[in-house]
């Protein structure tokens, strides 16, 4: 079959057709390659901006903090106040705190939080900002007093334990408890302090600028892919406007607490328009789901840092990297053999969404196996509903049964789909639960790269193979979604950089510089544009067809139940029976 160019027609179709022989021209005519070129272009810009500009005194602060923590760890059986202060000092050194990074954030940032007046998402006057600040100051002052009192109690308890040379177990336990309370109070103070940093803003100009930048950015590829750049440029602002509206609703305080994010709102807005007044033909030129998703996924690759999987040692690897693939494969097989779900792509997308980390895993897996837009929509919708339930039920259940917070944290981190919901559920329990839950979820997030790669290979070698035909290496290459190569390459390059500069500098320059200060903004905007496009190209009636017999729901519920049981069992075995020494240190 002749090579197919991306046209207006197939842009609106179910999946991107990527068939035929590979040729050199693919390098500049296929969106998979454009996703790589554009993604890497942004990555290079980010590296050039941040790496030459480390914060002043970065290495000195890190060295001093590490020396204090080492000294404290040698003398005390628990983390002392000085240990925590040193850790905090190190965490405060971030590249994205620099003035230039704040300017970038201002131009790339999302709408602000609001409660009842949606205009506050974009505009806030000086008077209103002052009023908000004054209100926040009251809470901050109260939180500061609490912290001071908790610190005094913690210091006394620690001094008592130190006076006995940390040989008195009950005094040590008392000191640990008081230090834990002080940490809780300090976190509350820090959150209250952030709210006092409110100032007047007007984001209309920055959104206009960003819209122009993104439109021109994507137009580069559009020209070579055979689409009309003028049509794309005239349609793009509408898709971008819907993306802004999706972010605006994500920032509404009640929606944020329920964990209903931009992905859901973008799909909902798109769906409403396409299924009521319809999407005009001229607009479809900017409805480029695959183009946006793939470019976003290449950027996501930079955020997948393999060195971090060792963060919590062997127990973390077992909970996140052994249980997760087992659950994924078992759920997929259950869907195929027992439920007999007709669509394999729907089956694997729901399985990955449920077992790995919700929406981000669903996007990567769906793109790797070329799932249909409706299938991704269904997976995202189910994940959203179950996450909203699980993030409230699980921490309350853990509290009710008195489960240890390290075990509870590992359980929640391994099972609650959405990453943000894990942080909310963990923080609801305690700092310990939050640290374990977040670390397990982070290790699971990193697995997306491997999952996407394996799914892409499996689909090329097995699922899309003609029955009875052997698949040659060239055939696999022709079928392989090439953007996955960009995704994996970005991950490998950033993992190597991160390892070579060390975790401490990596935290400052990569985590809180290149990624959080630049790439993340673009990646989130690209995903949001993709979800708007999904909604605009999806038909309600077709969506209903995928849900026939409730099989996706049964798959999700059965898979999640298995996930809950296996994660709890493995977390218990790893953290309490095999590696209790690691648990004791947390």
């Amino acid at each position: 079959m002749a090579e197919e160019k991306l046209t207006n027609e197939n842009a609106a179709s179910e999946v991107v057709t990527d068939v035929g022989k590979s040729g050199w021209s693919d390098l500049y005519t296929k969106e998979d390659y454009w996703a790589i070129w554009l993604g890497f272009g942004l990555i290079i810009i980010a590296l050039l901006i941040f790496l030459p500009n480390p914060p002043d005194g970065m290495r000195e602060t890190i060295a001093q903090s590490n020396a204090i923590m080492e000294k404290e760890a040698e003398t005390s059986p628990f983390k002392t106040i000085a240990w925590h202060d040193a850790n905090d000092a190190k965490l405060k050194v971030k590249a994205d705190d620099a003035t230039y990074a704040k300017t970038i954030a201002k131009w790339l940032g999302f709408p602000h939080g609001w409660t009842s007046n949606p205009i506050e998402a974009f505009l806030l006057s000086e008077e209103k900002a002052e009023a908000k600040k004054a209100k926040a100051m009251e809470k901050y002052n109260a939180a500061k007093e609490n912290t001071a009192a908790a610190l005094a109690a913690a210091q006394t308890a620690e001094d008592d334990a130190r006076a006995e040379n940390f040989g008195n177990e009950s005094l040590n336990t008392k000191a640990k408890e008081e230090i834990g309370k002080w940490r809780g109070a300090k976190n509350a103070e820090s959150s209250a302090k952030k709210k006092t940093a409110v100032g007047a803003y007007n984001q209309i100009g920055s959104f206009l600028g960003l819209c122009i930048i993104l439109a021109l950015f994507f137009t580069i590829g559009v020209i070579f892919m055979g689409l009309s750049p003028t049509k794309f440029l005239s349609a793009f602002p509408f898709v971008f406007l819907l993306a802004i509206l999706a972010y605006m609703l994500e920032e509404q305080s009640t929606m944020k607490a329920y964990g209903i994010g931009y992905a859901a709102w973008a799909i909902i807005f798109g769906l409403l328009i396409s299924n009521t007044i319809g999407v005009p033909k001229w607009l479809m030129t900017a409805v480029q789901t695959e183009y946006y998703i793939k470019t976003g996924l290449v950027l996501l690759g930079a955020e997948i840092l393999f060195g971090k999987i060792l963060a919590i040692g062997t127990p973390g690897i077992f909970v996140a990297w052994v249980v997760t693939p087992i659950v994924l494969v078992c759920t997929y097989m259950f869907g195929q053999r027992i439920l007999k779900i007709p669509s394999k792509t729907l089956n694997i997308t729901v399985s990955a969404d449920m077992s790995v980390c919700g929406v981000s895993a669903a996007i990567a897996t769906a793109a790797a196996c070329r799932a249909k837009k409706e299938e991704l929509t269904l997976a995202v919708g189910m994940s959203l509903i179950f996450t909203a339930i699980m993030m409230i039920v699980m921490p309350n259940f853990i509290k009710l049964v008195g489960m240890d917070h390290v075990l509870g944290g590992a359980w929640m981190g391994g099972t609650i789909d959405a990453t943000g919901a894990v942080a909310a559920a963990g923080a609801f329990l305690s700092d310990r639960a939050l640290y374990v839950a977040a670390t397990i979820k982070m290790i699971q997030n990193i697995m997306i790269g491997v999952i996407a790669f394996c799914v892409a290979v499996y689909w090329c070698c097995r699922v899309e193979r003609q029955p009875g035909c052997a698949v040659s290496a060239w055939e696999i290459w022709h079928r392989f979604p090439k953007f996955v190569l960009g995704f994996i390459s970005a991950s490998i390059i950033f993992s190597i950089i991160y390892q070579s500069i060390g975790s401490d500098v990596g935290y400052t320059m990569i985590d809180n510089g290149v990624i959080r200060g630049f790439l993340r903004y673009f990646r989130e905007w690209f995903f949001c544009l993709a979800f708007v496009s999904i909604g605009l190209a999806t038909n309600f009636r077709e969506l209903k067809g995928y849900f026939k017999g409730g099989k996706p729901l049964i798959l999700y519920v059965c898979g999640q139940s298995f996930n809950l049981m296996l994660t709890l069992l493995v977390a218990y075995i790893m953290f309490y029976l095999v590696f209790p020494d690691i648990t004791a240190k947390i």
Binding site: S253, Y507, I586
Partner: protein
Amino acid sequence: MKTTLRNWCKLFLSLFLIWIFIFVIAPLGERVGVVGTFHRHVHENNIDASALFYDEVAEFSHAYMNIRDSIKY
């Protein structure tokens, strides 16, 4: 013309239902004990419960560094 008008009505009705969900139904859910307590905690601590990936939430990098240092030191 009639169909067009009906379609626009459908769109506005759907948007109105979204408004009802955000400002009436969802806040009602917060009146349920555990939901309300949980949401208050999320608001007070400014946690982004809707984040898709770990590096969108500051707590994740803090957790990573704290756990790493706890095991190392």
